[in-house]
C-alpha cells in the first residue's frame, strides 16, 4: 500500500474487536466500505472476559449461515437452572428443552470461550474485507471543526482518519467519554465479574450434568452465594472445561470490604457447587467490569462522525434471569454498521444524519428490550431480590422438607414466620412483588 491521502483513509474505523466491533466491521465491509478494525490486544479476544453463553445464534445465522459449523463453539445450551441459595441449601428451577430451536439449528445459545470466539468473528470480518490491526491501542479521537474525523493509535504517526468512527471499546468506553457522550459511571452501576475456567474431562462433564454429545448447561445462582454483596453467580459447561464466576456490584463490594475472589472461593465451596467442580484444574482466571444499569447508563449514542455500540453504549442486559451482552453487542454493532453504510451513501456524517441509528437499534430490538427491562436493574440489583428472597426461599424449603418428629407446619404459616424473622414489613413484600411483576411480567 502506498501512502494514502492524509485524510479519510477509511470509510469506517471500528475501535475494539469484541463481538460488537467485529459485527460492525463485518457488515460494513460486506457493503463494500473500506473498513479499519482496531484492537488493542495482541489478537481479538486476548483480553476479553465473558461467562460466556452466546445467545445470539439466530442473529449470527442471518449473517453467516450455519455459523456454528465453522466457529469454535463449545456446547449448545439445552438446560438452564436458576438456583436460590442459602449458605447450606439450594432450590433450583430446572428448565430443559430437547426441542426445536434449543437442541436443533439455529440453536438458542452456545457456550463459547471468548479468546477463540472473538478471534474467529474478527477473522470473518477480515474475510469480508475489513482491515484488522491488532496491538493498536486507540488513545484519542481526532476532531476537525467539531466533528470526529478519526482516531489516534498509541504508536508513532498514529493518526488515522475515517468518515465514521464506531466505538465498540467495551464497558467504560474511553472513546465515548473522549467524544463527550458518556459520563463517568457510579460504582453502583457497574458490577465486577470474576471468572475461572476449570478444566475437566468431557466424559465427566457429560456424567455430572447428565448430558449427551454436545449438549451443555447454563446455571445461574442467586442468594447467599455472594453473602451480602449484591450479585449472582454462574456456571456453564464448555467442551472440556467449566466456566464459572461470581458477579458483584462494585459499590457493595467496596462497602462490604469483600474481595471478589473470596466470593468465588466460597461459591466453589458451596455444597451445591463443590461436587460439580470437583477434580477440575484451574486453567485461567480473569476479571472484568459489566455495565449493569441498562437504560439508565446509556450514553448519547452518536455525535458528528461517531457512533457507540455494544457494552460501550451500555447494551448489556444483566437483570437477574438474564445475563446477555454479546447478543446485544452484535445487534447494536450491526445497527451501527447499517447507519454508517447509509451515511456513506448520503455522504453526510453529521449527527443529524447518524440519528437513524436509533431507528436501526429499534428494528433490531435492542432499544426496545432495554426499555422494556428498564425497571429491572435498579431493583434486581437491590439487596432483597438478590440476597434476601432467594435465601428465604431456600430456607423455607429446608423447613418444608424437614422431618424431625416435630409437627409439620403448613406452608403459609411457615412462610409468614420466615418473613417475620427477616424483618421485612408486609407492605414492602407486596411492593416488591409488584416490582418483580413489573420488571419481568409486563
Amino acid at each position: 500500500m502506498t501512502a494514502l491521502p492524509a485524510k479519510e483513509q477509511f470509510d469506517v474505523i471500528v475501535v475494539g474487536a469484541g463481538p460488537a466491533g467485529s459485527a460492525a466491521a463485518l457488515l460494513s465491509a460486506r457493503a463494500g466500505l473500506k473498513v479499519l478494525l482496531l484492537e488493542r490486544g495482541e489478537y481479538p479476544g486476548a483480553k476479553n472476559v465473558s461467562g460466556a453463553v452466546f445467545y445470539g445464534s439466530a442473529i449470527l445465522n442471518q449473517l453467516i449461515p450455519n455459523w456454528w459449523e465453522q466457529a469454535p463453539v463449545e456446547r449448545y445450551i439445552c438446560r438452564r437452572d436458576i438456583a436460590f441459595m442459602s449458605p447450606t441449601t439450594a432450590v433450583a428451577l430446572d428448565f430443559r428443552c430437547a426441542g426445536s430451536g434449543y437442541a436443533t439449528a439455529p440453536y438458542n445459545g452456545f457456550s463459547v470461550l471468548r479468546p477463540k470466539f472473538d478471534r474467529w468473528l474478527a477473522a470473518q470480518a477480515e474475510a469480508a474485507g475489513a482491515f484488522l490491526l491488532t496491538s493498536a491501542v486507540v488513545d484519542d479521537v481526532l476532531w476537525d471543526d467539531g466533528r470526529v474525523v478519526g482516531v489516534r493509535v498509541r504508536r508513532e504517526q498514529g493518526e488515522i482518519y475515517g468518515k465514521v468512527v464506531i466505538a465498540c471499546d467495551g464497558v467504560n468506553s474511553f472513546l465515548a467519554k473522549k467524544a463527550g457522550l458518556q459520563r463517568e459511571f457510579h460504582a453502583h452501576e457497574l458490577s465486577l465479574g470474576v471468572k475461572e475456567v476449570i478444566g475437566l474431562d468431557p466424559a465427566i462433564i457429560q456424567d455430572r450434568f447428565h448430558l449427551t454429545g454436545n449438549e451443555g448447561i447454563a446455571f445461574e445462582y442467586l442468594g447467599a452465594i455472594t453473602e451480602d454483596v449484591h450479585g449472582g453467580a454462574f456456571l456453564y459447561t464448555n467442551r472440556d472445561s467449566l466456566s464459572l464466576g461470581v458477579i458483584g456490584q462494585v459499590s457493595s463490594l467496596v462497602e462490604r470490604r469483600k474481595r471478589p475472589y473470596e466470593l468465588l472461593e466460597r461459591f466453589k465451596a458451596h455444597p451445591a457447587v463443590a461436587p460439580l467442580v470437583r477434580g477440575g484444574k484451574l486453567r485461567e482466571y480473569s476479571a472484568h467490569l459489566i455495565p449493569e444499569s441498562g437504560w439508565a447508563m446509556q450514553p448519547k449514542l452518536y455525535t458528528d462522525g461517531l457512533l457507540v455500540a455494544g457494552d460501550a453504549a451500555g447494551f448489556c442486559l444483566a437483570a437477574g434471569l438474564y445475563l446477555e451482552g454479546m447478543n446485544y453487542a452484535i445487534q447494536s454493532g450491526l445497527a451501527a454498521a447499517e447507519t454508517a453504510i447509509a451515511a456513506c451513501r448520503r455522504g453526510n456524517f453529521s449527527a443529524r444524519s447518524l440519528a437513524v441509528y436509533r431507528k436501526h437499534l429499534k428494528q433490531r430490538h435492542v432499544s426496545t428490550d432495554f426499555r422494556a427491562y428498564r425497571h429491572a436493574p435498579s431493583f434486581v440489583n437491590g439487596p432483597r431480590l438478590q440476597n434476601l428472597y432467594p435465601e428465604m426461599i431456600a430456607r423455607s424449603m429446608e423447613q418444608i422438607f424437614r422431618v424431625d418428629g416435630a409437627p409439620k407446619r403448613k406452608i403459609l404459616p411457615l412462610a409468614y414466620r420466615m418473613v417475620r424473622q427477616s424483618e421485612i414489613r408486609p407492605g414492602q413484600l407486596l411492593r416488591d412483588a409488584y416490582q418483580v411483576a413489573r420488571a419481568y411480567l409486563w
Binding site: M1, L133, R155, E156, Q157, G158, I160, G199
Partner: protein, 295 residues
C-alpha cells in the same frame, strides 16, 4: 555491512498448559510470539546497521510465521525470507540449520549473522554453532554486548562481551563473517509506527522451498531420534555430600532421606547477646572465606 537475523516463532510461555498426568501441552491453547532472545537480536541488528547496510530476517517454519516476519519488516528490517517445504516435517536444529545455511547462501551471504542464544520452546541453544559449522564460520555464544567501530569492520574483526559464570564477563574478538548467539533481554524491540505496521500487513514474504535452495530431501536425512514420552516436570533429587559421621544416627538418616534438598541441619544460635550473635556471624563468614577477599 549486511546483517542477517534468525527469528523463531515460539509458543508464549504464559500460554503453556501442561496436563499434569500426561505432560502433554494443550496445543490448541497456545499463542505464538517472537522468541525473546531473537527480539534482542533484531533490535541490535537494527541499531548496528550502518546507513548503507541491510538487515534481512530469516525463519524456518510454516506459514504462520509470516506474521512475525511482517512485524520484523514493520520494525525496520529491509527484507525477510521464510524457508519451508512440504517435505519438511519438523524444525530439529540439525535440519533447521542446513536450511538456514542454504537460505543465507541463496540470499547472498551476509557479513554477520545474529541468532538468539536459546529458544524458549524445545530449543537447546545449539543453532548458532550448528549454523556456523554449515557455513564454516566462527561463532561466539552467550554474547551480552557488542559494538562495531568503522575501523573494526575494515580490519574484519569485531569485539564482543560474553557471559561467564557468576556475573563475570569475557571480552572476545572474532573475525568476520561470524555468527553471534545473543542473550535474552539485552534490549527490547522498538515499536513499529502505525503506517509501517499497516503497510506490511499484506506484504508477501518470499518463500524458499527445497528446490529453490538446491537441496533434496536426502540432504535432510539424519539419524532418527525417538521421542519416547513427554511428561510433566519432576525435579530430580540433588545428590548431596554423604552424611557426616559425626552426627547422630537419626540426623544422618534424616539427611539421607531428604536427599540434601532441604534441612541441612545447620547450626542454630538461639541464645546470647546481640553482640555475641554478631560475632558468631562474623566467625561464620570468616571460616567460609567470605571476609578474606571481597569480590
Amino acid at each position: 555491512m549486511r546483517i542477517a537475523v534468525c527469528l523463531k516463532y515460539v509458543p508464549d510461555p504464559g500460554t503453556i498448559e501442561v496436563d499434569p498426568l500426561t505432560g502433554l501441552i494443550a496445543a490448541d491453547r497456545l499463542l505464538y510470539m517472537l522468541n525473546p532472545a531473537d527480539e534482542s537480536a533484531l533490535e541490535l541488528a537494527l541499531r548496528l546497521r550502518p546507513p548503507q547496510g541491510t538487515v534481512t530476517v530469516f525463519n524456518v517454519g510454516p506459514v504462520e510465521a509470516d506474521r512475525l516476519l511482517q512485524e520484523a519488516l514493520a520494525a525496520g528490517a529491509d527484507a525477510a525470507v521464510r524457508v519451508w517445504d512440504s517435505a519438511i516435517s519438523s524444525t530439529k536444529p540439525m535440519i533447521t540449520t542446513i536450511l538456514l545455511a542454504a537460505a543465507l547462501r541463496a540470499a547472498e551471504l551476509p557479513d554477520l549473522v545474529l541468532c538468539g542464544g536459546h529458544s524458549v520452546d524445545r530449543g537447546s541453544g545449539t543453532v548458532p554453532a550448528l549454523l556456523a559449522e554449515h557455513l564454516g564460520w566462527p561463532v561466539v555464544t552467550e554474547v551480552t554486548q557488542f559494538e562495531m567501530q568503522p575501523d573494526e569492520l575494515q580490519s574484519g574483526r569485531m569485539r564482543v562481551q560474553r557471559r561467564l559464570a557468576r556475573g563475570a564477563r569475557a571480552e572476545s574478538e572474532v573475525t568476520l563473517p561470524a555468527i553471534l548467539g545473543l542473550e535474552t533481554g539485552l534490549v527490547h524491540l522498538r515499536q513499529a509506527s502505525l503506517p509501517s505496521l499497516m503497510r506490511v500487513k499484506h506484504t508477501p514474504i518470499p518463500l524458499y522451498g527445497l528446490e529453490e535452495l538446491g537441496l533434496s530431501p536426502q540432504d535432510l536425512h539424519f539419524p532418527a531420534m525417538t521421542l519416547h514420552e513427554v511428561m510433566p516436570p519432576r525435579p530430580r533429587a540433588r545428590v548431596m555430600f554423604t552424611p557426616d559421621c559425626h552426627r547422630s544416627a537419626p540426623e544422618r538418616v534424616a539427611q539421607i532421606l531428604s536427599a540434601g534438598v532441604a534441612g541441612k541441619a545447620g547450626q542454630i544460635l538461639d541464645s546470647g547477646t546481640p553482640e555475641q550473635q554478631a560475632d558468631a556471624i562474623i566467625d561464620f563468614l570468616r571460616q567460609h572465606g567470605f571476609l578474606e577477599k571481597s569480590p
